[in-house]
């Protein structure tokens, strides 16, 4: 079955409720959009992620009221190296949206969204633990899966998978 090519043109997608909301707030924060395989991705400017999440959560037309997932993808060795991926769910509208934030490899940090969704707490700790990304404003940013004294961040692509440490 041939697949429809992804749509990345902002003009075509600006009527999607999440994109429309963000554009109405500040067009600068939307760095890119992609509609691929029935899933909408929005690349959000790094410093705006917390406010973008707050806006989408409180939106009156299409509230993305549930936080599903947060993870990270390491695109080593290209830059910007890290891509944080937020999945938001709208329970009333039965839809999802994916927000992305790109981070450079030198001391990657981003604002925590735990003040909006306390449920992001463990997810941010997991990303901190396995990728070494700092979340400013997180109430308890410590390793969650690996031991406290572990060195390195195992899910980074340059982490050795064999041999002695």
């Amino acid at each position: 079955m041939p697949m429809a090519p992804p749509i990345t043109d902002l003009e075509q997608l600006k009527n999607h409720p999440a994109i429309a909301r963000l554009l109405a707030w500040n067009p600068q924060v939307v760095e890119g959009v992609k509609f691929d395989r029935d899933e909408m991705s929005i690349i959000v400017e790094r410093s705006a992620i917390r406010e973008a999440c707050a806006l989408l959560k409180e939106d009156s037309v299409c509230p993305f009221n549930a936080f599903s997932d947060l993870t990270c993808v390491d695109w080593y060795p290209s830059e910007p190296r890290f891509e944080l991926v937020y999945h938001l769910l709208s329970i009333p509208n039965k839809g999802r949206v994916r927000l992305k934030v790109k981070l450079n490899s030198s001391s990657p940090a981003v604002e925590s969204i735990t003040s909006i969704w306390p449920g992001a707490n463990y997810f941010e700790r997991e990303v901190f633990d396995l990728f070494g990304i700092r979340f400013t404003g997180h109430p308890y940013l410590r390793r969650i899966l690996m031991p406290e004294d572990w060195e390195g961040h195992p899910l980074r692509k340059d982490y050795p998978v064999e041999g002695y440490r």
Binding site: V73, H87, L145
Partner: protein
């Protein structure tokens, strides 16, 4: 006083460690500590071919292997743009509902055992044994099934399988009555669970709760009904919701789900379509054994899939299914090669565990055990 509970403790359902700050009998603060079962499955996936990841997904959650198989297969199929034959989809629904019953039975048995009701445990495991035998029939394995493949099922279901499922579906509702007779209006059970570990819908949603934990607080949301996958839209079922948000409400949700699930199983048996169980996609789906021995092309495809896998078009997909515990999500990123660039598993229990401190803080220490049991955690999925 700080009290350490776990990681080896019979009521933590695995290796969960909980730090409790207590004042007399009251819990002041609660801190779950996890990671004792971390095996790095997400990292392992990056070194495997797409089809080799399927057995790994079993190992995340030993109580619902088929749900995890399904979620991963759906994600990769979405990446590939594969169309799955109707019979395979219906078989997937049937087996997923049996898995839900299996998982809820273990939950009910162990949860009741934690609170002190011994008999239910033995009753639940009696029925669970029959489901495990059904799994063994289709896949050859009782627990680590790996029966779903990218593109369909591993094999045709064996002769006599449907008759046996029908027999099970025939007597199972009576068995649910038996459990309910023991618990639902039992005064001791109600004293131990009603009004205990209460959480409001807002708190539960904000903390990432999903599945029966969320529905027990009155949020009417079920991925099977609201964002259907694998032809769930063709089945009629009710989504049980309770308003109280306590241990008893979560118990009622799950027990009613047992009845709904067996209804779905019956519908799947009655309407099971005919046809192949694998998609027509040479190069992705392994050929039949017979064809492989007689046809050159099939042999070549088989050799190529086993030795070098199959390339998946670049892209990313988030697929979520309603596991017995809540929203199980797989985020799969492909860079166009035959190995996944990144596989992330969004565990339902991982998020549900965050609701635990809100349920327990300010309440009695003795109710912590009931609260842990009521969110139905599996530590393998939390730690991955």
């Amino acid at each position: 006083m700080i009290l350490n509970m776990g990681p080896q403790h019979p009521s933590t359902h695995g290796v969960l460690r909980v730090l409790l700050e207590i004042d007399g009998e009251t819990v002041v603060r609660m801190m779950p500590d996890i990671g004792y079962l971390h095996t790095g499955i997400e990292k392992t996936c990056e070194a495997k071919f797409y089809q080799q990841v399927v057995p790994l997904t079993d190992r995340i959650d030993y109580l619902c292997p088929l749900t995890n198989n399904l979620c991963y297969c759906l994600a990769v199929e979405k990446l590939l743009g594969l169309e799955i034959p109707a019979k395979a989809q219906w078989m997937r629904v049937l087996l997923n509902e049996l898995t839900r019953i299996n998982s809820h039975l273990v939950w009910l048995g162990t949860h009741a055992l934690d609170i002190g009701a011994m008999t239910v445990f033995l009753y639940c495991f009696r029925e669970r044994e029959e489901i495990l035998k059904l799994f063994e029939m289709v896949s050859g394995q009782r627990m680590m099934t790996s029966y779903f493949r990218i593109g369909g099922l591993a094999l045709e279901p064996p002769l006599g399988f449907f008759d046996r499922v029908r027999h099970f579906a025939g007597y199972f509702p009576e068995r649910v009555d038996e459990y309910e007779n023991l618990l639902t209006s039992n005064p001791i059970w109600m004293m131990r669970t009603k009004g205990v570990a209460r959480i409001s819908a807002e708190d539960c949603l904000a903390l990432g709760g999903t599945g029966p934990t969320l529905r027990g607080s009155g949020v009417d949301f079920d991925l099977r009904r609201d964002m259907p996958y694998s032809s769930y839209e063709k089945f009629q079922f009710r989504v049980p919701v309770s308003q109280d948000g306590d241990v008893y409400a979560r118990y009622m949700c799950r027990v009613q789900e047992l009845r709904e699930s067996i209804g779905i199983v019956r519908q799947a048996l009655d309407g099971m379509p005919e046809g192949p169980v694998k998609a027509d996609a040479p190069g992705i789906v392994l050929p039949d054994r017979e064809k492989m021995k007689t046809q050159m092309e099939s042999l070549i495809y088989h050799f190529k899939i086993i030795t070098e896998g199959f390339a998946v078009p670049a892209g990313e997909v988030y697929q979520a299914v309603e596991s017995p515990r809540g929203e199980m999500g797989y985020y799969v990123v492909s860079d166009g090669t035959s190995k996944p660039y990144r596989v992330h598993m969004r565990g339902a229990c991982f998020a549900n565990l965050q609701t635990l401190p809100t349920m327990c803080e300010g309440k009695l220490l003795a109710d912590v055990v009931a609260a842990i049991g009521s969110i139905d955690i599996v530590l393998g999925e939390i730690d991955r």
